[in-house]
Each structure stands twice: as structure tokens, then as C-alpha cells.
């Protein structure tokens, strides 16, 4: 009789405790990893497209084909522009390195936020969540500044193949960062209303997984797009 009386309570605990499964991780976490797997495919395709477009762009610049390479808004051929400045020197590496540092710092803030929630230190978790969102916003601000600078120098989304591939790849990443900031702000509001306690630490962990994924993608983009000529 005692067993019967206790059983429903234990079951409720299991349901409440993040759906403990025989696989060792909760169903929610497993589903989130599958989602991140699909995101890997998306960014894999975007990075491949960028590499191919860049290769074709360089080939056409060398061949001097203005119809494929494109024309600058002021009428000069992109090939001439590319010869003068090349694609590499357009990038402001010190500035982008600073952006990378900001994103890495935000990843650290995110894991510290999760750690604080697990420990039940909600004040610290709010501070770290706000810091992560702030650093993410700073990164987006930097990207907007960079895009504006490229536009003023004549590199737009539509004037050649390289521009299209570059803005699509980095733009998609920026959209993902923005999505992450919205999630972080939502968590912050939940925490301020007292609805983000140790009970829901897994929610913070899942948002953290998304944020670190965005960081990992930037690690790849920074090297492949900015550092490798």
C-alpha cells in the first residue's frame, strides 16, 4: 500500500526532473542537439558556397571577365577594384579580432550564467545573462559597422559573386546571434519575474548550447573568411 501511495509522487518527480531517460540525456536536450545538427548542415552549405564563390571570383578577376565579376556602383570594373585593393585588404582584421574576443567573452559569461543558475545564485545568473546579451549586442553593432564600411567601399550584396556569398554567410550568422540575444533577454525577464530557478536550469543550458554553437560557427568564419586569403 505504501509503495502504491509513493509511486505517483516519484513519477511526478521524474516528469518534473527533465524527463530522465534510459539514454542518459533528456529528450529536450537530445532534440536540441538534433536541431544543432541541422544548423551544422546549413552553415556547412553556406561556408562551402562562400569558398566556391570566392574561388570563382578570383578566377574571373584573373581572367578579367567584367560580366561575371561585376561593376562597381561608380562604373569602374570590379576586376580593377579587386586588383587595386584585392579582397583581403578590405577586411579590418584588428577590428574583427576584437569582435571575436567579444563573442568568446560572451560564451564565458553564458557558461557562468548557467553555473550560477545550477547553484541557485539567481542574482549572479541575471548579471551574467545580461552581460552575455550585452556582449552579443556589441558584436552585432560591430557587424553592422563592418557591413556599412564595406558598402561605402563598394562591396554590396548584389554587385558581384563574392559580395553575395560573403554577406549571405556573415548575415546568416548575424541573424543567429540576434536570435540568441532575444532568447537571452527572454531568460532575463523570466529570471526577474522569479520563474527561472534551479528547476529550469536545463532551459538555460539549452540556450547556452545555442549560444556556444553560434560562437563555434564564428570561430570557423573568422579563420576561413577573414584570416585565410
Amino acid at each position: 500500500m505504501t509503495d502504491i501511495a509513493v509511486a505517483p509522487s516519484a513519477e511526478a518527480h521524474d516528469d518534473h526532473a527533465g524527463h530522465r531517460t534510459s539514454l542518459g540525456i533528456s529528450n529536450m536536450k537530445l532534440a536540441f542537439w538534433l536541431f544543432l545538427g541541422s544548423e551544422c548542415l546549413l552553415f556547412g552549405a553556406l561556408i562551402s558556397t562562400y569558398l566556391l564563390s570566392k574561388a570563382r571570383f578570383i578566377t574571373e578577376v584573373v581572367a578579367g571577365n567584367p560580366t561575371v565579376v561585376g561593376t562597381m556602383p561608380n562604373g569602374t570594373l570590379m576586376a580593377e577594384f579587386a586588383e587595386e585593393q584585392s579582397v583581403g585588404p578590405m577586411f579590418d582584421i584588428p577590428f574583427t579580432s576584437l569582435s571575436s574576443f567579444v563573442l568568446l567573452m560572451s560564451s564565458l559569461a553564458m557558461v557562468l550564467a548557467h553555473s550560477a543558475v545550477v547553484k541557485g545564485d539567481y542574482r549572479a545568473s541575471r548579471i551574467w545573462l545580461a552581460t552575455t546579451a550585452l556582449l552579443g549586442s556589441l558584436f552585432i553593432g560591430g557587424q553592422v559597422y563592418e557591413f556599412t564600411a564595406f558598402y561605402r567601399e563598394g562591396l554590396t550584396f548584389s554587385n558581384n559573386l563574392f559580395g553575395s556569398a560573403f554577406f549571405t554567410l556573415t548575415g546568416f550568422h548575424g541573424v543567429h546571434v540576434t536570435g540568441g540575444i532575444l532568447m537571452l533577454v527572454s531568460l532575463l525577464f523570466l529570471s526577474l519575474r522569479g520563474k527561472l530557478n534551479s528547476d529550469r536550469a536545463e532551459t538555460v543550458e539549452l540556450v547556452g548550447l545555442y549560444w556556444h554553437f553560434v560562437d563555434v560557427v564564428w570561430v570557423l568564419i573568422f579563420t576561413i573568411v577573414y584570416l585565410i586569403p
Binding site: G24, S115, V118, H212
Partner: protein
């Protein structure tokens, strides 16, 4: 009557103690410490600085690209392994199985993407 009291007592205990999700519990039990997080962050920043410095040395070809790719992979593994808890999740039930499954899929995807890039790259340069 006594049974009812036992059930109520257990239920009360269950609700009084803060619950932790499976992931949270695992992270708390097997996850890295805050000190390790800071250490990994410092290593990541150091590798980023090294990458930037390497790109300014004026090197060309594989001498430039290979070290950059190696450093990129190390940074990738550090973020995925420590910040995303993949390394520590391996200690869970079936964790190694998941690590092998995800690791193999990731490696396969990387190889496929590289083959696609290489194939189209050769076509663009007119090699075949």
C-alpha cells in the same frame, strides 16, 4: 491513513527540494568548474591572438593555412567539449556511444563538404 501520510510526506519533500533537470544535474555532477571555464577562455583568447599574429607574418600557401586550420580546430574542440559540455557528457549513460555517433557524423559531414568544395573548385579552375 498512515500510507496517506507517507505519500504526502514524500510528495512534500519532493516539492520542497529544488528540482534540477537531467541536464542540469549532470552538468552539476560531471561538468567543468568555473575555474576551468576561465582557463579555457584564456586559452581561446591566446589561440585567437596567435592566429591573428600568424596571419600578419606575410606567409603564403600551406605554411600559412595549415597552422591556422589546426588552431581553428583546437578552438572548435575546446568550445564544443568544455563550454557545450560534450566532453563531460561522455561520462553519462551511453555518453561514449553518443560521442562516437555525433563525432562520426560531424567528421563525415566535414569530409563530404570538403569533397564538394574540391570538386567544384577544380571545375572552376578548369582542371577537368
Amino acid at each position: 491513513m498512515a500510507d496517506t501520510h507517507v505519500a504526502a510526506s514524500v510528495e512534500a519533500d519532493t516539492h520542497d527540494v529544488p528540482h534540477q533537470g537531467a541536464g542540469a544535474h549532470d552538468a552539476h555532477a560531471h561538468g567543468p568548474t568555473e575555474r576551468q571555464y576561465w582557463l579555457v577562455f584564456v586559452v581561446l583568447v591566446a589561440f585567437t591572438a596567435l592566429e591573428v599574429a600568424w596571419s600578419f607574418f606575410g606567409l603564403e600557401g600551406p605554411v600559412l593555412v595549415l597552422p591556422l586550420v589546426v588552431m581553428m580546430v583546437i578552438k572548435f574542440l575546446l568550445v564544443a567539449g568544455v563550454f557545450m559540455h560534450l566532453y563531460f557528457d561522455m561520462n553519462m549513460i551511453n555518453g561514449k556511444l553518443f560521442a562516437v555517433a555525433f563525432g562520426s557524423a560531424l567528421a563525415l559531414a566535414a569530409v563530404v563538404y570538403m569533397m564538394v568544395v574540391a570538386t567544384f573548385g577544380f571545375r572552376i579552375s578548369g582542371a577537368f
